[in-house]
């Protein structure tokens, strides 16, 4: 049939050549439309729940694609120098003006909440205009303030003050790579000669660098692999056509493959960037076979047409079989979840198929147009079989002939030794880890890990009316629990802003107990773009943002597990109850629950502060605070006492001025000055004034009562502060942690209590319950999911590829046993490959995943060659041992020559910028030899050892 096809095609050869020229030209044009995609998120099906959530959150909060600029100061004082602050303020402004930038948050413009005299201030941390006026003392105070504020430390400034971070959010739909380039340009211009250095990090930077490096590698590695292959081909053929034609085939196959990629609008990814190298290394074989056979027939006195026809008819089956097995290896990658792996599988299969077609149809055409030529003298079969040629193959032959069972046993033992290493095999698709240690992006990301709480963003999405105190409390609860997870840091949410406002207003760093109070506090910050990263405009959901403090896969996995465990542990249903409206029994139950809940939360705070305190100490503290709620007051230390007294005086002064009346405050000394009793001893004078106007009198009464209540509350807050300070004074706990604990304890004084569904009497409480839905997402789970998928894809593709190859072998040999045994060299090679990866810590990624396919696809050819060799040997010598010698020494030599050629091609990948490409280069090169070695040694050993393994009967 092939003869008829060739004859038909032969008639239209000039049309074919013309068609080729047109196709090549069109391909060159098409290839210009190729785009690069380095964003691994684009490799996942968009409907996947983790991807959907990640993208949804990214779009709503602009939180996935932020550029994180780390600014490094050259002096010991860190960024807290007037000139530096001025430069950062100027830079912040300039960055905001870049087209495609949605928001910029830096140390100068970050939202700051602070108490001022009689009031509250929500403004930028440093007003640009003020920097110039700041004295050294002001800057020192600013430094102290910032470094003691947990909203800034490890978030916008490093704990040593040396680094400051600027967070830039590119706007939706903007060209992020362009924005990154412009950000770097602006930084280069504005920070020049300022003593400040910058490091750009974050996902958009990683994508930009991945894109650049992918394109760079593609352009660099393709000519290298071509040159290497040309050298190998020249050593093999020593003729121009022997070098040019196979290279021509793979170049055109590559061109067509990438043109189709462009037409299908498939981007070049890190994975598909390896196609030229793989295709050149593996795809030249088909043309080589044809040319080799051409030279074989050329030595006979045949016409040019006959030589070519014989060459094709002789070899097309072998070439087709070889292409088929290789395609079988790659096609299984199409079962993967990651589109980059699917694309790699598809386009490699296509590339191999095109190489086959070109070798069968185009190479003969070209040969026909050239004058017939003979090859240089090649090593004869007799020479190959003589012991003067080579060292390794004669030794291998001896081993197989005399110790075949030991050889099999040796392989078996090695297999048993290597299998346990597989359990350490990991997958890792974090593109940051693809870069070399000294790459700028690696440095930037490490800086984020070292000074800004991590580089891998994660979030907890909290669904529910944000202003509902139950939702807000839950959010704050989650935020603090997340912060307590060992390798997660920088947890922030809208709840901490509300708690901070509450603290500045009423001295308790906690969530107010009514929606109205939250609404009131919200008014201070509403519209501030800083909030957009935490809460939706509709206020129907918010996120707790955090970062995993490591780029290592194991740490990311640990953090993901811890986050999921946390969310399953925290109750998701809440009620808000008014203690006063409960029966005594209910009230006692609720109070006990609240005590244990607060105790648990204080322990979380202590674990965040990395302090161990005896549980009894904390329990006592909780009990004291509960008592404070019952009996009112307590003795304050002098400093707090003075604070209370001053506040009292200031409030009295205000009443005097507002109402034009007088209040007598009996001056007291010592403890009495601030004992709560002082409020009862206050008396209003000029009461007659009040009688003149009922409305004013009413107002004054209200004011007077509110004044007393608020002073009592203020006294309680001071006393609580005193209790917390005195309990933990010997532990060296930071003031920010004490503030959190005071806030938590303050909840014990409220009449309204938020009760979680973990309270055993939850269902019996009459109040309406609210179910809060959470979802965990972010880059952390995405990476973990990708890793998991990649591992599954690897296993699935290997199983399918092995099955396909087995079916093929069974079909070829018509023997189940031979089909099965012929899989052994491949399986052993795969085992060695994964063991090397495991031992040397090389992870399976979207590039190295293809190694197994290459090994199966190409490696099975070696087994087929050896089985064919054995069969040929029997037919030739009718002697088992001679057949084995023939297979090992003659066919084995050809197999190793081919292995050498393929392996050398893959060595080109060592010149790549990406670590996975380098790993793939060295691993494929090494394991190709293992594949050849095990095929050459193992198959003949089975033939020698087991009579059932009868190659003679094989129908090939």
């Amino acid at each position: 049939m092939i003869k008829r096809i060739i004859e038909f095609y032969w008639r239209f050869r000039y049309v074919c050549i013309l068609l080729m020229v047109v196709l090549v030209t069109t391909s060159v044009v098409c290839i210009k439309d190729l785009v690069v995609e380095g964003d691994i998120l684009e490799y996942m099906p968009p409907e996947h729940k983790d991807v959907r959530l990640f993208k949804e959150i990214g779009n709503k909060y602009l939180s996935n694609y932020f550029i994180m600029l780390s600014i490094e100061a050259a002096v010991d004082n860190g960024v807290f120098e007037k000139d530096y602050l001025k430069s950062i303020a100027k830079l912040t402004k300039a960055l905001r003006d870049i087209e495609g930038v949605s928001s910029v948050i830096s140390i100068t413009n970050i939202m700051d909440i602070k108490k001022i005299e009689d009031g509250i201030e929500v403004s930028s941390l440093i007003e640009e205009e003020e920097i110039e006026r700041m004295s050294d003392f002001d800057i020192l105070q600013l430094k102290e303030y910032v470094l003691n504020n947990e909203r800034y430390v490890n978030h916008i400034v490093s704990s040593n003050g040396r680094y400051s971070q600027i967070i830039i959010r590119p706007s939706q739909g903007s060209d992020r790579a362009k924005v990154v380039n412009m950000v770097e340009e602006v930084c280069n211009n504005l920070l020049k000669d300022t003593g400040l250095k910058f490091y750009a990090g974050g996902w958009p930077v990683a994508i930009r660098d991945t894109n650049n490096a992918t394109m760079g590698d593609l352009k660099k590695l393709t000519p290298i692999v071509i040159i290497i292959s040309m050298i190998v081909l020249f050593l093999g053929f020593r003729t121009v056509r022997g070098v040019v034609l196979p290279i021509f085939v793979v170049i055109v196959a590559n061109l067509f493959t990438f043109a189709i990629m462009a037409l299908l609008k498939k981007p070049v990814t890190l994975g598909t960037s390896a196609i030229p190298v793989i295709l050149v290394s593996t795809g030249t074989a088909y043309a080589i076979h044809i040319i080799n056979q051409y030279y074989f027939h050329a030595s006979k006195s045949l016409s040019k047409g006959e030589v070519i026809l014989h060459a094709i008819t002789d070899k097309w089956k072998a070439v087709f079989l070889s292409a088929l097995t290789t395609m079988a290896g790659f096609v299984t990658l199409m079962t993967a979840t990651l589109t980059t792996v699917v694309d790699l599988g598809f386009f490699m299969t296509l590339g191999i198929f095109l190489s086959f077609l070109l070798a069968i149809f185009i190479v003969p055409l070209i040969l026909y147009m050239l004058p017939i030529k003979q090859a240089r003298k090649v090593l004869s079969e007799e020479e190959a079989l003589s012991y003067t040629h080579g060292i390794f193959l004669p030794i291998a032959e001896k081993f197989v002939l005399f110790h075949s069972k030991k050889v099999i046993l040796g392989f078996g033992v090695l297999t048993i030794i290597l299998i346990p290493t597989l359990f350490n095999l990991t997958a890792d698709v974090n593109p940051i880890n693809y870069f070399k240690e000294d790459a700028a992006i690696r440095k930037s990301e490490q800086l984020l890990v070292d000074h800004f709480g991590g580089a891998v963003p994660v979030f907890v999405l909290v669904k529910g009316d944000v202003k509902d105190p139950r939702v807000m409390y839950f959010t704050e609860y989650v935020e603090r629990e997340v912060e307590a997870i060992e390798n997660i840091g920088s947890a922030q949410s809208v709840a901490s802003i509300i708690a901070d406002l509450n603290y500045n207003l009423i001295n308790y760093y906690n969530i107010p107990d009514t929606a109205g109070k939250i609404g009131n506090l919200w008014f201070f910050v509403e519209g501030n773009e800083y909030l957009n990263q935490y809460v939706t405009q509709e206020m129907d959901e918010s996120i707790v943002l955090a970062r995993i403090e490591s780029l290592q896969k194991s740490q990311v996995t640990y953090a993901n597990r811890a986050m999921r465990e946390l969310l399953s542990k925290i109750p998701s249903e809440y009620k808000i109850v008014d203690k006063r409206e409960l029966s005594i029994g209910e009230r006692n139950g609720v109070i006990e629950y609240q005590k244990s809940h607060i105790l648990k939360r204080i322990q979380t705070e202590l674990s965040i502060a990395r302090v161990k305190v005896d549980e009894k100490v904390v329990k006592d503290l909780v009990e004291k605070v509960v008592m404070l709620g019952k009996v009112e007051g307590g003795s304050l230390p002098y400093e707090l006492c003075l604070q209370f007294h001053n506040e009292l005086k200031s409030r009295i002064k205000k009443i005097r001025s507002d109402f034009g009346i007088d209040v007598i405050l009996e001056e007291q000394d010592g403890d009495e000055m601030c004992a709560l009793d002082v409020l009862n001893r206050l008396s209003l004078v000029s009461e007659k004034v009040l009688l003149e106007d009922d409305e004013v009198e009413e107002q004054l009464k209200t004011e007077w009562n509110e004044f007393k209540d608020s002073m009592k509350s203020y006294h309680s807050s001071l006393y609580l502060k005193h209790l917390v300070n005195s309990t933990f004074s010997s532990y060296g706990i930071k003031s920010s942690s004490l503030k959190h604990m005071e806030g938590l304890l303050g909840l014990l004084l409220n009449d309204n209590i938020i009760i979680g569904s973990d309270y055993e009497g939850f269902s019996s409480l009459r109040d309406e319950s609210l179910k809060i839905v959470t979802e965990y997402g972010g880059l952390g789970p995405i990476l973990a999911m990708l890793d998991e998928n990649l591992m599954k894809n690897q296993i699935t593709s290997i199983i399918i590829a092995l099955l396909l190859v087995f079916v093929l072998m069974f079909y070829l040999t018509r023997s189940f046993l031979i089909g099965l045994v012929s899989m052994i060299p491949i399986c052993f090679t795969l085992l060695v490959d994964f063991s090397i990866m495991s031992i040397f810590g090389i992870a399976i990624d979207d590039v190295t995943i293809v190694i197994a396919s290459i090994l199966i696809g190409v490696g099975i050819d070696y087994t087929i060659h050896i089985i064919t060799g054995l069969k040929l040997g029997y037919e030739k010598y009718s002697d088992d041992d001679k057949a084995i010698s023939f297979a090992i020494r003659v066919i084995g030599r050809a197999v190793f020559l081919n292995t050498f050629a393929v392996a050398l091609g893959f060595i080109a990948l060592l010149f790549g910028d990406f670590l996975p490409l380098r790993s793939m280069g060295i691993l494929t090169a090494v394991t190709m030899f293992i594949a050849a070695f095990s095929a050459v040694i193992l198959i003949p050993s089975f033939v020698k050892s087991y009579k059932k393994f009868n190659i003679k009967e094989v129908k090939l």
């Binding site: 109070k517 009131n520 201070f524 507002d658 004011e703």
Partner: protein, 241 residues
């Protein structure tokens, strides 16, 4: 004839010179128009429209007396009902938080920040005086409107570097474009310009923030002028009422 023409020309030029209105004059007239009433009590509805189309409606009452005294009291939604902001001068502002029953002073330099999540700044809500911070530098006259360009005075901490305002022949601002770094960042459109008694006022204002792609509509539902509002209204005590 030639002599006659010469006199006519001299007359026209001299009358034009005598009546020529400068940009600064126009600015003064705008401010005078905005503050001509003794006092005002205006019920407003503020609707913020996010870029995704989400709307948030708030209602409140504005009390104003003179140029500086102003109280903004929210009447809805529930979570901010009763919340009031008092401004009695350029840098003096107080906020009453009804849920906490507390009056707190708000720092002066937040004037350029958003007023309760709207696209109006605190300053735009509490003051109608431009001449302290801006200098009128250019005036262009059209058939029915005048276009005046205001340039920020040196040392002023206002957000916009330049404002180009289009005013009606009655000196009511019809449209204003706010510039920062030579880029228009906000646009104010005033519509429903009507006469209320002897005063002319734009009943609807739409402030568009071009950088955030969102807008705020302030609609005046009920307008009352010269009610003789007491000074007590502009006190902390009144906020609590």
């Amino acid at each position: 004839m030639r002599r006659f023409c010469f006199f006519i020309c001299v007359f026209l030029v001299s009358s034009l010179t005598l009546n020529a209105e400068t940009a600064q004059d126009v600015l003064k007239k705008i401010e005078a128009r905005q503050n001509e009433a003794m006092d005002a009590e205006i019920q407003v509805r503020i609707t913020t429209i996010e870029k995704n189309g989400t709307k948030k409606v708030r209602e409140g009452v504005i009390y104003q007396k003179g140029e500086d005294k102003r109280v903004f009291k929210f009447t809805s939604p529930a979570d901010i009902k009763g919340l009031s902001v008092l401004s009695t001068g350029k840098d003096t502002k107080y906020i009453y938080l009804p849920e906490f029953k507390k009056v707190r002073r708000i720092a002066g330099h937040i004037k350029n920040q958003s007023f309760g999540g709207t696209d109006f700044t605190n300053d735009e809500i509490s003051s109608t005086r431009y001449s302290d911070d801006y200098e009128a530098v250019e005036l262009r006259e059209g058939p029915d409107t005048k276009v005046i360009t205001l340039k920020k005075r040196e040392g002023s901490d206002r957000e916009y570097d330049k404002i180009v305002a289009e005013v009606t022949s009655d000196y009511v601002i019809k449209r204003a474009e706010m510039y920062k770094n030579n880029k228009v960042i906000k646009v104010l459109d005033v519509t429903n310009i009507n006469k209320h008694g002897k005063y002319i006022i734009g009943e609807k204002m739409i402030m568009r923030d071009l950088t955030k792609n969102r807008s705020t509509e302030m609609e005046m539902i009920k307008i009352e002028f010269d009610k003789g509002l007491s000074d007590e209204i502009f006190s902390e005590r009144f906020l609590k009422k």
